[in-house]
Amino acid sequence: METIKSVADLHKIRTSILEAKQKQIVENDNKKLVEIKVAMATCGIASGAKAVMDFFREELPKRNIVANVKQTGCMGYCYAEPTLEITIQDEKPVVFGYVDLKKADEIIEKFIKKGELVDGIIPIKYELAN
């Protein structure tokens, strides 16, 4: 267990987090890494986000895609839950709304495998403070 005993330790941990990510890219044979964030706040879970997240976690390895599938909090689009954000390495993140299992399958086959956009994109319209 790492413990942080000084400000320098905090920066060291941050560096090691970034290095671990870099390492994953290299180990992935320099194929593009896929990161999927599923909005898993109470409301997202209530509308089925957990099943969608499990689907990605099960299906992606079967289809030979190396991806980090992780849960996150509310993205704000209550009207379009379940929502998720996909970032293909070196590209801009894309957000999808109303993602059910069928849509999830389409996203894997078309967007993740071929880079093709599919219906249900939510254009990102905000700035972040960090």
Partner: protein, 590 residues
């Protein structure tokens, strides 16, 4: 990767864009693309609505990120020839400030929600990666508590729990209280109907609250923090617990943080879900194990709070802003917002609005921008009537307030209040008398009963509103309603009773005609109050089939086969089953 499409057209599929559209744009564009032989390289994709609804239909060309607005059928050729074939932007369809046509791009700006939806809330490393705990490190290693407090004062941050008290000032006052023990309390009670901002922050970014509480502890001289969260938020509680444990393991909470000798620990206390326990003195009593009842201020918690020790109470969203303020500086924060309300505000949009959801916008944005550009307008294209801000303590804003820049002071001046950020949107079908009654019903249930004006007064107010909705009100009732509202406001012990008549007073001020109609004209203008409805069966259409009589759950319909049926108005509960079941459209409603 083999993307066969070199460009995409993202056509907004939101209902307000569709309503504004002169054609099925997706089908029309696909048809046109074929005409130009472009269907192999360009794909049309339907996108989910998220912005600029008032100037829809909107189309985004991807990956160029050019957005065209107010697009009609006749513009499609231009977009195809100019943009898709010649890579030239069709300037006349680009709506933004620079282009001189007056429509500023409406941007949400996320400060409190900066990590919400981007990091795994159960993974401290995700937070650390996003500059997490840098603010605490900076404060402990570089600045004195006074310097940090001054920075928070300079930022202009005001409490997001409803009152809008300057946060830095509160910290300064608490820091000056002399005591062997002080406390930092995070108010995560969030009780008003329709509000879910704090829950989202706790579920999405719990570490930002922990970090800010530690910074507050450093400033006021406290080494203990307590989060008071309602037990009805199980996921928030779970993620908070995980976050606290991870922070402890990493040494970011506990003794000797960053090797500076500063100690800070955080524990959780659970609320049972009473609205009054969000009021800070009631909250403190509830934490102490007593009844959740308020006490008179002063003394303020900053002087005598939890266990009679100086206690700094702040709201979840207030705290979530702090690390960003420390990292980016007070001047940056103070550059956002209006003169007296700095920064951004998170709002929970609910009710008859298309894009129900959580938004964070700079203070000073107008209601029109929130409702029509971010919120996607009113459901089913109905007419906007009012929006209730501030929950049961607030009031309604109407059409004439649509262009009011929203901040703490402007909302109060308009007879409403910022409150915690719930916005409930109402359309032409909503009755404002019923709306006021709904809030008073909530208040009657939630009043703790300690002081008579709130306990008895609100009950009488609720009875009078029920009388109006039942069609039994008199003109004297209207006067009494207004007078009693003022008395309850003036004489109640705490903020609950001092604000609970606001929904009545503001609807009476803005929609007096509706109150008048309920009494003098014996009708509910929006047709929502059932008691004014009259179901009757028309002679022309009724064939005497007995279906309605059999289906009526209260046996209010009588009649014989092949003869006109009659509804007994005394017995009728206005459920509408007869109208639904009649195949011959013989049941009418007036």
């Amino acid at each position: 990767m083999s993307n066969r499409y070199r460009k995409n057209l993202l056509v907004c599929n939101g209902s307000s864009c569709q309503q504004a559209s002169d054609a099925d744009l997706v089908a029309f564009i696909n048809f046109k693309l074929k005409e130009y032989n472009l269907e192999d390289g360009i794909k049309v994709v339907q996108s989910v609505c998220s912005n600029k609804c008032s100037i829809g239909p909107n189309i985004i060309v991807y990956p160029d990120n050019v957005e065209y607005s107010k697009v009609t059928k006749s513009d499609i050729d231009d977009i195809i020839i100019e943009h898709l074939l010649n890579e030239r932007i069709v300037e006349r369809l680009v709506f933004d400030k620079e282009n001189g046509n007056g429509v500023a791009p409406i941007k949400q700006y996320r400060i409190a929600l900066r990590n919400c939806g981007f990091i795994d809330p159960e993974e401290i490393k995700d937070y650390i990666e996003k500059d997490g705990y840098d603010a605490l490190a900076k404060c402990l290693s570089k600045y004195t508590p006074e310097e940090v407090t001054q920075e928070v004062i300079k930022s202009g941050l005001r409490g997001r729990g409803g009152g809008g008290f300057p946060t830095g000032l509160k910290w300064e006052i608490t820091s000056k209280s002399v005591s062997d023990q002080k406390y930092v309390v995070c108010n995560a009670d969030e009780g008003d109907p329709g509000a879910f901002m704090d829950r989202s922050v706790l579920e999405g970014d719990p570490h930002s609250v922990l970090e800010a509480m530690a910074i507050c502890g450093y400033c006021i001289g406290a080494n203990k923090g307590i989060i008071y969260v309602r037990a009805e938020y199980p996921l928030a509680v779970k993620r908070l617990k995980i976050a606290i444990n991870q922070a402890k393991e990493y040494g970011l909470l506990g003794k000797n943080i960053f090797g500076t000798g500063f100690e800070f620990t955080i524990t959780i206390k659970y609320g049972a879900g009473a609205f009054i326990c969000g009021e800070e003195t009631a909250l403190i009593h509830s934490m102490e194990g007593f009844l959740g009842e308020p006490t008179l201020k002063p003394p303020f918690p900053s002087v005598s709070g939890y266990l009679k020790k100086p206690t700094n109470v702040n709201n979840v969203e207030t705290f979530a802003n702090i690390p960003a303020i420390i990292n980016k500086g007070a001047d940056w924060y103070a550059s956002i917002g209006t003169e007296k309300s700095k920064g951004t505000k998170v709002f929970a949009l609910a009710g008859k609005i298309n894009n129900v959801g959580l938004i964070e916008v700079p203070m000073g944005i107008t209601l029109r921008e929130i409702i029509y550009d971010i919120g996607g307008g009113i459901v089913n294209g109905k007419k906007f009537k009012a929006v209730q801000t501030g929950g049961p303590s607030g009031g309604c804003l109407t059409e004439k307030h649509l262009d009011l820049p929203i901040d703490f002071d402007s909302l109060t001046a308009a007879g409403s209040m910022m409150g915690s950020g719930g916005m409930i949107v109402m359309d032409e079908d909503d009755c404002m008398v019923s709306m006021a009654r709904f809030y008073l019903e909530f208040i009657v249930e939630e009043s703790c009963g300690k002081c008579a004006p709130c306990r008895i007064g609100n009950k009488r107010l609720h009875e009078m509103l029920t009388k109006l909705c039942d069609g039994k009100g008199t003109m004297e009732d209207l006067d009494l309603l207004r007078n009693l509202s003022v008395v309850v406001k003036d004489t109640s012990l705490c903020g609950l009773g001092q604000t609970s008549p606001n929904p009545i007073l503001s609807t009476m001020a803005n929609f007096y005609d509706e109150y008048y109609a309920h009494v003098a004209e014996h009708r509910c203008p929006s047709g929502q109050c059932k008691s004014f409805m009259l179901y009757y069966i028309s002679e022309e259409n009724c064939i005497g089939c007995l279906v309605c009589a059999r289906k009526c759950p209260v046996g209010a319909i009588s009649g014989e086969k092949k003869k006109l049926h009659i509804i007994n108005q005394e017995l009728c509960t206005k459920c509408g089953v007869c109208m639904e079941k009649c195949k011959f459209h013989a049941v009418h409603l007036n």
